[in-house]
């Protein structure tokens, strides 16, 4: 009985979301192929960012709200390639190359700060995100074009320095998504290679019970799959084992001779660098960079999605990531339309999904703290009981 209750309690969040979606999808009136298309796009767009959260959770550092640091590093890389006019895959790789050292430095800084605030990593990394956001804005708004050379006038504000709020990433837009163009169409048939307009070869697949055609961001999905394999492999390495040990108990790990602080810093650095790449992948899909708020949203939405996928502050798997992306974004797509059809106001659906994202984070945090406190209480009680026996 207890076990059944635990299973329900552990999967309550995804279950609630499945129920909400089950009601909202028919209300929205979207076709299946539209939903599948949107979901595939969003899986390609967001998974990498969310996956970057896994490693700090493994090391027992909770949700890394400091991932926005990595996102900012990625955006700085993108700003530079925009300025230099580097396009296509070379542009993306160069942006990663520029972003990496910045992300590493920020990650080391973040790791040191978090080591000074053990036990409240989450709130500290959250505030750290704001703090670095200030530094980032200072850099982008005042130093770029003044001390840091930016030559392209379309990037700069009319006053001559500082980057515009919206930067078009036309040069790398959809470049990874469309690297291996893949389309699935309705009606029955088999997979085949075909040449469509302009001599570009597409992988075409035909499936039954689908109407219309769906584009698959195959290359992005391959990158994400490789990253998942990396995480699975990483868990088995010495470093990964150390991190898991630290996640279980810092004092035990310390007495086993694991350099706790150093390993924690490495976990954060990896997470930050991956978030940097994740943000670049995200923005190549979006096609425009909102210089001053793209990174803020990245952090919030990634964390909410991961939690909706059934992860907790102390445990998250790759399956949680994908379940989370699908459920969260399914709601993202249908909520405004469902709200409009239900109450006649799209704004309510919009606010509803913001509320759900924040509410879900709050609930997940509460459940985690609650459970931990209960366990601690139980442990203390059993300790007292033992003492009484003696």
């Amino acid at each position: 009985m207890r076990k059944i209750f635990d299973i329900i309690a552990n999967n309550a969040v995804p279950a609630v979301f499945i129920i909400i979606s089950a009601f909202a999808i028919p209300l929205s009136g979207y076709s299946a192929s539209y939903l599948v298309q949107e979901l595939l796009t969003r899986i390609g767009r967001n998974s990498f960012l969310i996956l970057s959260l896994l490693i700090p959770i493994m090391a027992g550092m909770g949700l890394n709200f400091g991932m926005v640091l990595g996102a900012m590093a990625g955006q700085i890389g993108l700003l530079f390639i925009c300025d230099w006019g580097i396009v296509g895959i070379p542009g993306m790789v160069l942006a990663c190359l520029i972003g990496t050292p910045i992300a590493i430095v920020l990650g080391i800084f973040c790791g040191h700060v978090l080591n000074r605030a053990k036990g409240r990593e989450m709130v500290t990394s959250y505030i750290l995100g704001f703090f670095i956001n200030g530094v980032y804005q200072m850099t982008v708004l005042y130093l770029m074009g003044w001390i840091i050379p930016i030559t392209n006038p379309t990037l700069l504000l009319s006053r001559g320095y500082g980057v515009r709020n919206a930067v078009s990433l036309l040069g790398i837009r959809g470049i990874l998504d469309n690297l291996i163009p893949t389309i699935i169409t309705g009606t029955q048939g088999t997979a085949q290679f075909v040449n469509i307009n302009g001599g570009k070869s597409f992988i075409m697949m035909q499936l039954p019970f689908l109407e219309g055609s769906i584009r698959i961001p195959l290359a992005t999905l391959i990158v994400i799959a490789l990253f998942c394999i990396f995480i699975v492999w990483f868990r088995k390495t010495k470093l990964g084992q150390d991190m898991r040990a630290i996640g279980q108990s810092q004092s035990v790990a310390d007495s086993a001779g694991i350099p706790v602080n150093r390993t924690r810093i490495i976990a954060i650095v990896i997470s930050t660098v991956l978030a940097c790449y994740g943000q670049i992948i995200y923005l190549q899909n979006m096609g425009t960079l909102n210089t001053y708020n793209s990174h803020d949203q990245a952090g919030m939405f990634s964390i909410a999605a991961l939690l909706i996928g059934g992860a907790s502050v102390s445990k998250a798997t790759i399956a949680n990531v994908f379940a989370g992306v699908i459920l969260f974004h399914l709601m993202f797509i249908v909520a405004p339309v469902a709200g409009k059809n239900l109450i006649g106001d799209a704004q309510i659906g919009e606010y509803f999904r913001v509320f759900v994202s924040y509410g879900i984070i709050a609930i997940a945090l509460v459940l985690h703290a609650w459970r931990r406190n209960r366990e601690r209480e139980a442990a203390r009680r059993s300790l007292r009981g033992n003492k009484g026996d003696e």
């Binding site: 000074r116 709130v123 505030i127 200030g134 509320f355 924040y358 703290a369």
Partner: protein
Amino acid sequence: MIKKFIENAGWPRIIIALFLLALFVAAPFVGVRVDTSLSNTLVRFGMNGVMVLAMIPMVQAGCGLNFGLPLGIIAGLLGATLSIEWNSEILAKLSELGTLYKISWLNDLFLTTWREPIGFASAIIIAVPIAAILGWFYGKLLNRVKGDEMMIATYVGFSSVSFMCIAWLLLPYKHPTMVWGYAGKGLRTTISVEGYWLHVLSDALALDINTENIHLYVPTGMLIFFAFVALIVWIFMKTKTGTAMTAVGSNPEFARASGVNVDRMRTIAVMMSTILGAVGIIVYEQSFGFIQLYMGPFYMALPAVASILLGGASVNKAGILNVIVGTFLFQGILTMTPSVINSYLQTDMSEVIRLIVSNGMILYALTRKVRAGR
């Protein structure tokens, strides 16, 4: 001596205080008037003071910094909007009272001079019970999540703000100055309090010197109100409940052993904090002139948290003096940086400086070694 002072105050505070001093010194040289800057600082001090006071009870009771201040702010917003919605009814009821007891001069007063103060008072009277109820639930929640209060408070604040975004659209407000004109329902994003209780406190007993050489404006009423609330908090912290609260914060095990109900104390502290937040936002609005709904209260906790930390508070210890010093320093920097730096560099860096100073301050407080006690 000096070394000890620096140790006590902490480097960031001294740097920021010196920075502010430098700004005041530099102001005349770049053509910024010190007197108007000082007036602005005082006005902003009065506006934000009560919200910063809201930090004290929770910090003292060991619940950490109240990042969930938006919850209290929401209660205040409800009070403010309802006081406008029901303004005419309240006044009518009161004048009925005057007629009933045959006191016609009282009746006149209600409809003329006292109209605005009554509106303001009604806002507070409506807001306080709402804040108390919300605070009670919020306190119960925080009691279950000891050790993680700050992160959860942040998200309780955020989710309550986004929940209220839906509520502001759906609640049956009718007053024409508050709802969207074309739809006839749903509150506007900003609502003017002009004609209701604009500057009720600020202009009461205000000192307004406006000669050729000097422009000085001191919002005496608002400052007195702040002093009054601060006094209440101070007295409360000296009562038996207040000292018990402090004991809970500094050593919960010891407090429990000496028969203090820890959870109850914490709940009271959270309720107080929420109530002060509600009162604080109403004071803020009467001076600012507008009620900001929807995403307005979203980030309002951060400046308040930063202020009290700037004043020398830590994550588990705070006093009235911290509030006064901190709010003055923080608001001083907010008023001085735009004017001084803008006239020097010709750019508006205030937003960025605010971000860096406030979050840097919070970060500094969070990363300091806390004495073993939890």
